[in-house]
């Protein structure tokens, strides 16, 4: 078990290195740079641009640029933002990252809390009214794009019913303690459910299918032949086996959540990494784009690592090879 985890962590290192290359190359491959927008101004002579490019190191050979970037990132220096002049990338990200973490965790919580029980219930009552209802909901959820679901949620629950705030993370400044927590939670409800909708829908289907598949296995017949109650056949013997593929999918879910957050945050004017990412792309603020890409990639890697470790905990067949 320990060996397995150590091996998986060691595999992490070359992956990380490859990711930095891809992140850097992608940023460089995009047309234009941070000065492109300003070039439209005819009053500034071309030499000025060249001087500024030289100063920013944009004229260096690409390998040199990569090395400079990589060595500063390795020491924790993510560079300076170009759109918010003078502010460090780290500072911009720090101000927003926790909001995105809260949003993603809330959405993940919504997914797990709804998808797994509904999936189990659907599977145990296959072709019942409940099952058909859940299936209809699942397809609706999968077919509705994030931004549309978000707008709908804002209109119905924010505007018409007025149950939940539909913008930002807090209502007023100066809240603290429990009040602040509840206020933040309230602000999370609409974007959180919106972000979790598609995942809830698909995980519900996965869970249902897995349960039905495991129910047909020989070892379930054995469990029944032992005289076990329906409850322990379902929750002990079926569920644990049915959860195995779900764990793998959850590892990938981190990526889905974070990329979904980009759109959801925009719709709800929620100040997180997603919003920062979008404005950075619009302003060709490459240091910020690269930093966020790197963070996303590392999060996905960690998600997969956690999934693999957790998988090994749950499935004894993985541990010993």
């Amino acid at each position: 078990m320990h060996k397995y985890i150590i091996r998986r962590i060691l595999q992490f290192i070359p992956m990380l290195f490859l990711i930095t290359i891809v992140v850097f190359a992608l940023a460089k491959a995009a047309p234009g740079d941070v000065l492109s927008g300003e070039r439209l101004d005819p009053n500034i002579p071309a030499e000025v641009y060249d001087m500024r490019r030289e100063a920013l190191g944009l004229n260096d050979h690409i390998t040199v640029q990569y090395w400079n970037w990589l060595s500063s990132v390795a020491t924790g220096d993510l560079g300076t933002s170009m759109q918010y002049t003078g502010r460090s990338v780290a500072e911009l990200i720090n101000a927003r990252v926790m909001n995105t973490v809260y949003l993603s965790l809330f959405a993940l919580g919504v997914t797990l809390a709804f998808a797994i029980p509904i999936g189990i219930y659907s599977a145990t009552r296959k072709y019942s009214l409940f099952d058909y209802g859940a299936t209809t909901f699942a397809f609706l959820g999968l077919a509705t794009p994030n931004f549309f679901a978000g707008l709908l949620a804002i209109y119905v629950f924010g505007f018409m019913l007025g149950w939940f705030p539909s913008q930002g993370t807090v209502s007023t400044v100066g809240l603290s303690g429990m009040e602040l927590f509840l206020d933040k939670l309230k602000h999370l409800v609409l974007p959180g459910f919106t972000l979790g909708l598609a995942s809830t829908a698909s995980y519900m289907r996965y869970m249902r299918t897995e349960i039905l598949e495991v129910k047909g296995s020989d070892f379930i017949r054995t469990a029944k032949a032992k005289g076990l109650s329906n409850h322990s056949v379902l929750y002990k013997h079926t569920l644990r086996n049915a959860l195995l593929p779900i764990i793998t999918l959850l590892g990938l879910e981190f990526g889905t959540l974070l990329s979904g957050a980009i759109i959801t945050e925009r719709v709800f004017s929620y100040p997180g990494l997603g919003q920062l990412f979008l404005t950075s792309v619009q302003n060709r603020d490459y240091p910020v784009i690269m930093a966020i890409n790197l963070i996303l990639a590392i999060t996905i890697l960690i998600g997969n690592l956690l999934a693999d470790i957790f998988y090994a905990v749950v499935d004894p067949r993985i541990r010993y090879d």
Partner: protein, 338 residues
């Protein structure tokens, strides 16, 4: 265990006692387009205490459905036991509530399945899976149940039983898993052990070991065995009495010795001729032409008629009855009716 070895005499006496009495059992499957598959169609037999009864037939003959019917584990829908009675030690299993039936499964009847590779849950240890049954039926505490699991594993031939309880199914070979299955099926000291093709998935060398173990355990636990198999070689090794099934019905019933020396039904004769024999020098093995008809499309008359060498006109008209030829031999065939 000791008290059981000196009760050999008692077993001899018990042989006359009926343990299981199945009467007119019909298990049908209701399929799409109103098709009805008569998987088990009017099956009656008795199993005496201490006896090993074999249920023999090709795939699709209804033998596994018969055994699952005894456990009331027919997947429903589409399957349903529509008629008959199954009496275990006088209790009619078909009239029990599902809750009471669960007390019979694993406790009064232990079951071993064909595929030892897939019949154990991959994510729980062997010990956990054996102890679970003991905790459920014998109300043992976890610690006692594990202790008993170790004893049972030792009994079925595991030298390092203390480690095996903590191992997972994938760490054991097929033969070892089947031993573990036997330990599990016997854990609650069942009156009846149903073994559904217990050796089919195993190497030939392991097959004999497993069969010997089953018989040995049966003696030790004073149990009875209902052995389901398609392999007449297996039957010859262990069975006292044999039921031959074809198309959801019993076509011949005899003691094992009688069946091998004096088979009557053309189907039984065909089955016996298709066993390779090392002593006689034949070029080709005989086979029974064709396959078992699907259970929703049995021919009118005798179900074996389309494949039978001795078929007569009247075979196509009505199904013959299972008639007693002499006290320990019954056959369902017009060849033997006056």
């Amino acid at each position: 265990m000791q008290e059981k070895t000196d009760s050999k005499q008692e077993i001899g006496q018990k042989k006359t006692d009926v343990l299981l009495q199945v009467e007119g059992l019909k298990t049908y499957f209701y399929m799409e387009q109103d098709k009805v598959a008569k998987a088990v169609d009017d099956v009656s037999f008795t199993l005496k205490k201490g006896e090993t009864l074999a249920l023999v037939g090709e795939s699709g003959s209804g033998k596994s459905i018969t055994s699952l019917s005894l456990m009331r584990l027919i997947p429903s829908p589409p399957g349903k036991i529509i008629e008959g009675s199954i009496k275990l030690d006088g209790t009619d299993l078909l009239s029990l509530s599902e809750k009471d039936m669960r007390k019979v499964r694993g406790n009064d009847i232990g079951m071993i399945f064909q595929e030892p590779m897939t019949s154990l849950n991959p994510v729980y240890t062997i010990g956990n899976q054996i102890a679970e049954t003991l905790m459920k039926h014998k109300k043992l505490k976890k610690k006692e149940a594990y202790k008993r699991a170790v004893e049972l594993l030792k009994l079925v031939g595991f030298a390092r039983a203390e480690q095996i309880v903590h191992e997972y199914p994938h760490q054991l070979s097929g033969g070892m898993r089947q031993r573990a299955m036997i330990a599990m099926a016997l854990s609650c000291d069942p009156k009846l052990l149903i073994a559904d093709e217990p050796t089919t998935a195993l190497d030939v060398t392991i097959q004999t070991q497993i069969l010997d173990l089953m018989v040995e355990m049966k003696e030790k636990f004073e149990s009875s065995i209902l052995l389901i198999t398609h392999d007449l070689g297996v039957v010859a090794e262990v069975a006292d009495r044999v039921l031959v099934m074809y198309g959801g019905q019993i076509v011949e019933e005899a003691t094992a010795y009688e069946l091998y020396t004096n088979p009557q039904h053309p189907y039984t004769v065909g089955l016996l001729n298709s066993i390779p024999n090392l002593e006689s020098d034949v070029e080709r093995l005989e086979s029974i032409k064709g396959t078992v008809p699907p259970a929703h499309r049995f021919p009118k008359g005798c179900r074996f008629a389309p494949r039978c060498k001795h078929v007569m006109d009247k075979c196509y008209e009505a199904n013959p009855d299972l008639l007693e030829k002499d006290s320990n031999h019954k056959v369902r065939c017009y060849l033997y009716e006056e």
